[in-house]
């Protein structure tokens, strides 16, 4: 069944009529994803290459049975689209938008947790279940169906690891790019829980990065609850302290949040940790 995204996924795209929204929605559809609707207030009744456009997500859900919201609208409008999707009772939100103010993201995070609506992102590449559906901007040609689940904050680092896995003959059940912002809807720990419960996933590859304590918390979760093999890599061994490395959360504060400490925490939890994307793929390949 994979996680988050599968053959039953029906996508409504907020921002379908924009340049990026259109490009990726059509790409997702070409991959086989059911992209059933778009939403742009004021453009209801139009269509984008046969995908009907509605004024509101509620109408799109009612008319098309959409169950997954994919958000491409600009940062100042993006959280509003996510609230609207939650109120329209979708099962999943995937918010690609980068550059949303943290004070907009924080209450959205709170609302979605309370409402129990999972969100992937913001500032993420989305979710790809190879061979089945792609909701987001991941390049699909590098992925291949299989039984390893992958989760990462980073977009392109995700692609790198997926690429390495595929080249080593290891297919993926689902690839999840959870996003690099401090307030994201689903953390490593949430994705790890789903992979552990997913009958189509045999092992998990978890890509971390410097900053915060998410990897440490996920390590504790893995030690206590995950019985499938987990392979890990943490980016940023060479990152200097006190510098924000691209992602808002990727900063070593004093001696806290280093790649070394995170790698050790994962190893203590029984995770086989590689020192670069190739190594983690090799570790996974050796076991599968």
């Amino acid at each position: 069944m994979a996680i988050y995204v599968d053959a039953n996924t029906k996508v409504v795209v907020s921002g379908l009529t924009g340049k990026e929204g259109r490009f990726h929605a059509l790409r997702n559809r070409a991959y086989g994803t059911q992209v059933v609707a778009g939403v742009t207030p004021g453009k209801g009744g139009q269509d984008v290459e046969g995908i009907p456009v509605f004024d509101t997500i509620a109408e799109a859900v009612k008319e098309t049975g959409a169950n997954t919201s994919l958000v491409f609208v600009p940062p100042r409008f993006a959280t509003d689209a996510c609230y609207e999707a939650a109120d329209a009772n979708v099962d999943l939100i995937v918010c690609i938008t980068e550059g949303i103010p943290v004070h907009d993201e924080a209450p959205l995070y709170s609302y979605l947790r309370y409402r129990d609506v999972p969100m992937i992102g913001p500032n993420c590449p989305g979710v790809l279940t190879p061979g089945v559906a792609n909701v987001g901007i991941m390049p699909t040609e590098i992925a291949t169906p299989g039984r390893v689940g992958l989760v990462s904050r980073s977009g392109t680092l995700t692609y790198q690891v997926v690429h390495e896995l595929t080249q080593k003959g290891i297919g993926q059940s689902t690839c999840v790019g959870i996003g690099g912002d401090p307030f994201i809807g689903q953390f490593h720990i949430d994705v790890a829980r789903r992979f552990n419960d997913d009958p189509d996933t045999d092992a998990i590859v978890m890509i971390g990065e410097i900053g915060g304590d998410e990897e440490e918390r996920c390590a504790a979760f893995i030690a206590a609850h995950v019985d499938k093999p987990v392979f890990g890599y943490v980016a940023g061994f060479e990152a200097p302290p006190g510098k924000k490395m691209g992602h808002a959360g990727a900063i070593i504060s004093g001696s806290k949040g280093t790649a070394q400490a995170k790698a050790e925490a994962l190893e203590e939890a029984g995770v086989a940790v590689g020192r670069n994307p190739s190594e983690v793929a090799e570790l996974a390949a050796a076991r599968m």
Partner: protein, 371 residues
């Protein structure tokens, strides 16, 4: 965006938080004039975007004009953790009766939300934290819990509560990522005053905040300054291999594999998602201008960023600017084939291609060391 102390204090003052009245100065003479105008004793404080100024000797109290001149001369131009002091802030020296620490930051805890990190009395054990649901905001009970559980003495509770409330309002209205006051003092006359301010504003909120007024380019490193001017996400490091990549994680990982190949990265440069040809060209130009860079590694895995755009950017940059260093390009992902095609159609003597990230890193290190 990390503000300087005096910029942060101005914002706090706007929010109603009492702060010492002072002025800034960029020269020794100006500093003495400001100190004379304020009246002695004054505190002379280095304005740098880094903590630990006090220990580094960046804050001095002057009792008269001569001392003011001496301290201003000593501090201006000082290097504090790699930051050159170009500006001073001069304010009346406070008579401190009690010191506290207060900080708001957006952090995700078990349930997400905004955390006030610490409100500590002199005793570092006396730390109180509360979780603030960002949908709910800061309520009186948050302040009550902080001042009582943080051990604030009875006579200062009201004043500290009020400042905490003002700080949270500022934290939200300014789109701050961090708002920290250390120390929050009580003067001998009983006033609660923010004696320092560490404020980080969210550049993503530029569309509703006036950030331009704070955007001073203090970087003294020429590459950092050029990168800031061009809006590049660039961090200077100490090695010989210039690194350009797309996506923070991939670039961090690229630094790692360069180190594993026996080299050291000269910088971190993330061109982000959907970077245009111009952006790539600017990036190459900035990285190339660093004299310590002996080779450049361009590591692109396409998602939003498409391979042909990257390739066009590289070709354009090489047409426009003279890049003396060898460039190793590794291109994968969306439209990578088209990108490789463009690079192949535009051969350059210093352009090398690699098929994997590890190969690319090894090649870049080899070229840097061979140079």
């Amino acid at each position: 965006m990390d503000l300087l102390e005096y910029q942060g204090k101005q914002l706090l003052a706007d929010a109603g938080v009492p702060t010492p009245a002072g002025d800034h100065a960029n020269t020794v003479d100006d500093a003495v004039a400001v100190a004379d105008r304020i009246g002695y004793p004054v505190a002379i404080k280095a304005q740098v975007q880094v903590g630990g100024r006090g220990k580094a000797g960046g804050i001095k109290v002057a009792g008269n004009s001569e001392e003011a001149r001496e301290h201003a001369s000593g501090i201006l131009g000082m290097d504090i953790k790699g930051h050159t002091v170009l500006r001073l802030w001069i304010e009346p020296a406070a008579e401190i009766a009690a010191e506290f620490y207060a900080s708001f930051t957006g952090m995700v805890s078990a349930e997400g939300g905004v955390e006030i990190e610490e409100v500590a009395a002199a005793n570092p054990d006396a730390i109180a934290r509360v979780h603030i649901d960002p949908m709910l905001g800061f309520h009186p009970y948050h302040a009550t819990n902080l001042v009582y559980r943080g051990g604030i003495p009875a006579e200062h509770r009201r004043g500290v509560s009020e400042v905490l409330t003002q700080m949270f309002a500022a934290f939200e209205s300014l789109d701050a990522e961090l708002l920290e006051v250390n120390p929050l003092i009580v003067t001998t006359s009983g006033d609660v005053v923010a004696l320092d301010a560490k404020v980080t504003l969210d550049e993503n909120a530029e569309f509703r905040q006036e950030l331009e007024r704070f955007r001073e380019i203090f970087a003294t490193d020429p590459q950092e300054r050029a990168a800031k001017e061009k809006g590049l996400n660039y961090i200077k490091l100490q090695g010989q291999v210039g690194v350009i990549g797309n996506g923070a994680g991939l670039v961090m990982s690229t630094l790692d594999v360069v180190a594993q190949a026996g080299g050291k990265a000269a910088n971190f440069l993330d061109v982000g998602g959907g970077a245009s040809a111009e952006f790539i060209a600017n990036s190459l130009e900035v990285v190339s201008s660093d004299p310590q860079v002996k080779s450049i590694l361009v590591n692109i895995f396409g998602g939003i960023t498409r391979g042909e755009e990257v390739a066009n950017g590289i070709v354009a940059a090489l047409d426009e600017v003279d890049i003396p260093q060898p460039i190793v390009v590794r291109l994968d992902g969306t439209n990578a084939a088209e990108g490789r095609q463009i690079l192949g159609d535009n051969p350059k003597p210093n352009l090398h291609s690699a098929t994997t990230m590890l190969e690319a890193a090894a090649e870049a290190v080899r070229l840097a060391q061979g140079a």
